[in-house]
């Protein structure tokens, strides 16, 4: 029986990843730097257009790759990690449902618009407490580690959240894309340690690129957001919350981070073999295990592919509405990253 605590060893095959990613360290670094610079240039030059095209093409597929990656990290039997996974899935389900109900409450006027930030702050607090609980449970499984620091840290974040709930939510929008880079770092540490130093050095270029974009675009005029779609894109990047900041700068920065996020999930992790052969479910423990569910996993992945196709069709039919729905439902994948990242720490 495969236990949760052994899942890391079972699925981090170095040999297979070396065979799959037959590129040198220099090539890897060059690809990273070129991709980052190119993304920054496109995001700065045509922010709105890049945002539309990027979300249209990559939003769905990146969720599919991410779901497949998480399935690979999911143990066939939870064992000692039962509490961790129960809390993780309960949190993902409950918080996503609560997040999806927020627009309903808003449009049905159940909650006063004046007190809207309170609701957002409440949801953010629940999320922070949920992550803290996961960290504490995970910390107990690690010998010689005291992760009690998460409680004061979470309290500080909760405090900041209650001071500016909308700004805190905006911070999540900007921080979430960076989590993918952390996933890649953890994966490289286990499967390609020889790339790790180069990767960390390459990461140093990111703040430089972001600072360069901020410096270059801070004085640029705000984007023309006179139609519904452009307005939504600028609002998503925080134009309303930060009226004194150029919306061009905000949208460009957000699109750049999103491009990096999609790049990691769709290109980098599959390239180093982190997701396995995408058509082969035997690399997924809960499918390959003798008491696993291969048909269910197959059906889930096929339904995922259909959902990606459905998302493309929705974007083609009504981009604005589909984008709104997508970014509401996609909160589930943002939340799911927390427990699976913790499993890798």
């Amino acid at each position: 029986m495969e236990r949760a605590e052994n899942i890391g060893v079972a699925t981090w095959s170095r040999r297979s990843t070396r065979d799959r990613a037959g590129i040198s360290t220099r090539s890897f670094a060059a690809i990273l730097i070129i991709a980052a610079c190119l993304s920054a240039a496109i995001a700065s030059w045509l922010p709105l257009q890049a945002s539309i095209v990027t979300v249209f093409l990559f939003a769905g597929p990146h969720n599919w790759f991410e779901a497949r990656y998480f399935l690979m990290r999911l143990p066939a039997r939870f064992g000692r990690s039962r509490n961790f996974f129960v809390l993780a899935f309960a949190g993902i389900g409950g918080l996503t449902a609560a997040y999806m109900s927020l627009p309903v409450l808003y449009y049905t006027n159940v909650w006063s618009a004046a007190n809207w930030p309170d609701l957002i702050a409440g949801w953010n607090t629940m999320m922070l407490l949920w992550i803290s609980a996961l960290v504490l449970i995970r910390g107990r499984q690690k010998a010689q580690r005291d992760w009690f620091w998460i409680i004061p840290t979470a309290c500080v974040l909760c405090s900041l959240n209650w001071l500016g709930p909308e700004l805190f939510s905006l911070a999540i929008v900007y921080v979430h894309p960076l989590v993918a880079l952390w996933f890649l770092e953890r994966h490289l540490q286990r499967t390609k340690p020889e790339w790790l130093v180069v990767y960390r050095r390459c990461l140093m270029i990111l703040p430089l690129l972001v600072l360069g974009m901020l410096w270059q675009l801070s004085r640029s005029p705000s984007l023309n957001d006179d139609n519904g779609l452009f307005w939504r894109i600028t609002q998503h990047a925080g134009a309303q919350l930060l009226p004194s900041v150029s919306s061009h700068m905000l949208v460009s920065t957000h699109v750049f981070l999103e491009m990096m996020h999609y790049g990691v999930w769709i290109v980098a992790l599959p390239l180093i073999g982190a997701t396995g052969a995408i058509w082969n479910v035997k690399t997924i423990p809960i499918a390959s295990h003798s008491r696993g569910f291969p048909k269910l996993i197959c059906a889930f992945l096929i339904c995922g592919l259909l959902a990606v196709a459905g998302l493309w069709a929705g974007f083609s039919a009504n981009y604005t509405l589909t984008r709104d729905i997508y970014f509401t439902v996609a909160m589930a994948h943002v939340l799911a990253e927390a427990p699976f990242l913790l499993r890798m720490v």
């Binding site: 309170d118 309290c155 001071l163």
Partner: protein
């Protein structure tokens, strides 16, 4: 035991008295609603000896932003205004900050025996540096807005331009455009 009981009774008495003391506070008089600026921008006052009429020049971009701000009726609150806007949220934030400091103390006490003192010395040093930096930042805060306008009379006499910040307010009525300069008597 007797002493504890007396102390508890005294504290309870004080707490009970405070309720009456609060009840004696007069109801605050409603203050007139302060006029909310809808937009903040820069203003330059300059003279032109060749002009026959005073002119007010507004760039297209600024005009657009003023229109948008006016349409929102000044709801574009600054970050500080957002924070002080809700007392309940500020209180909850304070409670969490209190909890953060408390739990940080517990964590410090728990891990004191296990971690080297150098780590805590580093953390303390960083905190001191940040504290000192905060003092410096506050010391570097810009002068109040009216300082920039103090030399306006002399500048007008000399025909020089004077620049400063200006809050744009939308006032009721049909009066002329009014520019109020914050000149202080020295």
């Amino acid at each position: 035991m007797k002493r504890t009981l007396i102390l508890s009774a005294a504290i309870a008495g004080l707490l009970a008295a405070s309720v009456y003391a609060f009840a004696d506070i007069a109801k605050p008089k409603p203050s007139p609603a302060a006029r909310q600026p809808v937009f903040y921008t820069g203003l330059t006052v300059t003279t032109d000896a060749k002009s026959y009429e005073a002119r007010l020049q507004i760039s297209q971009e600024t005009l657009k932003r003023i229109q948008e701000a006016a349409a929102r009726n000044g709801e574009d609150l600054s970050m500080t205004q957002r924070i002080v806007h809700s007392s309940s949220r500020t209180m909850i934030a304070g409670v969490f900050m209190f909890l953060a400091v408390s739990f940080a103390g517990v964590w410090f006490a728990r891990s004191k025996q296990r971690r080297p003192h150098k780590v805590f010395a580093s953390v303390l040093l960083v905190a001191i540096v940040l504290g000192v930096a905060t003092v410096l930042v506050r010391a570097n805060a810009g002068p109040p807005g009216y300082i920039r306008w103090q030399n306006l009379p002399q500048a007008l006499k000399d025909g020089k331009a004077t620049s400063g910040g200006v809050d744009i307010e939308i006032v009721p009525g049909d009066d002329n455009i009014k520019l109020i300069i914050p000149l202080r008597k020295s």
